[in-house]
């Protein structure tokens, strides 16, 4: 039983560590959308994203290159992926904690 418990404990520690890592990665990929504001006949591009209850706008410039748009799309894709993996890890952590609390035969 000791070996199995060690294995579950190791998996739990790994899952917790990985969850922290994904949360850190999420900070690098704030998500959001590009919005265009027209001011006095000129277009200005902003990245709009939600930070808690506030919507924040980060000025990106008067023009956006296809490279910038590509990077943003990739960043959004990664954000969605990381969020899904965090959900998966949450389920795994819950399961492992339950298994480790279980009585030994």
């Amino acid at each position: 039983m000791g070996v199995i418990k060690d294995l579950l404990k190791e998996e739990l520690d790994n899952s917790l560590r990985l969850k922290v890592d994904y949360k850190e990665e999420l900070k690098k990929h704030p998500g959001g959308s590009i919005v265009v504001k027209e001011i006095k006949g000129h277009n200005y591009y902003y990245l709009a994203y939600r930070d808690a209850k506030k919507i924040k706008f980060i000025y990106k410039g008067k023009k956006l290159s296809s490279d910038d748009i590509g990077k943003l799309k990739e960043s959004k894709r990664l954000r969605v992926k990381y969020k899904k993996l965090i959900q998966k890890l949450d389920k795994r952590i819950k399961y492992l904690r339950k298994a480790l609390r279980g009585k030994e035969d």
């Binding site: 990985l18 890592d21 993996l85």
Partner: protein, 227 residues
């Protein structure tokens, strides 16, 4: 769960193959057990793998002709690039699969990471890996051409290294996996191949292995090797 892990592993291998680097990577560690099903082609052979880690062995000096950033290749699958321990060995991690890179340790050895700029990674040098590089087999697995250690080399290598494991779980896993593969080889009457590979091994390693087998009460295997 296992199905998902297998499909992720195959996706990673597919991408490495398309990038032209898979042919110069040898899949070692417990994942070899899974892929040996394409070697044994036996219904009774259990492919169950108890680890998420897939280890890639790279012969040195590396032969890669193309430059490929492996992390970038798999980043969109959700892999994170992490640096392990005080030495900073690269590990690509995903909740269902972790990728590590190894090279053979030679001479007096060094625990410094071995840089492989062609793949934008570093690799951990470990003892006894030359033995695996010298005894590989090509396999066709689900449309992929992969390279693995010969099953006999895999089992014999594990019979040497299990004693070096500090964690009981890894120690037991090494023995269980090695016995599973070894018994399947015996079932397929591959005695001569086992002995051929055993005899190619350094005398000191042979002795070390026989001592290790004795310590776990597997004298029968020692007997087969010495026949």
């Amino acid at each position: 769960m296992e199905k998902k892990i297998n499909s992720l592993c195959l996706e990673v291998l597919n991408r490495l193959n398309k990038a032209g680097v898979l042919k110069d990577l040898i899949i070692i560690g417990s994942w070899s057990i899974y892929f040996y099903k394409y070697y044994f082609k036996s219904e009774n052979y259990s492919t169950y793998v108890r680890t998420k880690d897939i280890d890639f062995l790279i012969s040195i000096p590396p032969k890669f002709k193309k430059e490929v950033n492996i992390f970038k290749l798999v980043e969109d699958l959700g892999f994170l690039e992490r640096y392990q321990g005080s030495k900073g060995y690269i590990k690509l991690e995903h909740p269902d699969l972790s990728m590590e890179f190894l090279v053979p340790e030679r001479g007096r050895g060094s625990d410094k990471p071995y840089l492989i700029p062609q793949l934008s990674i570093n690799a951990q040098p470990l003892r006894f890996l030359d033995f695996l590089i010298e005894n590989t087999i090509p396999l066709n697995a689900e449309g992929l051409h992969i390279r693995l250690p010969h099953p006999a080399a895999y089992a014999l290598h594990k019979f040497i290294i299990f004693k070096r494991r500090s964690k009981a779980e890894k120690h037991d896993r090494d023995i269980e996996g090695a016995l599973r593969v070894f018994n399947e080889l015996i079932h397929h009457k591959k005695h001569s191949e086992i002995r051929y590979i055993f005899r190619r091994m350094h005398k000191k390693w042979q002795q070390k292995m026989l001592d290790n087998l004795k310590s776990i009460g597997e004298q029968e295997i020692a007997k087969i090797l010495n026949e």
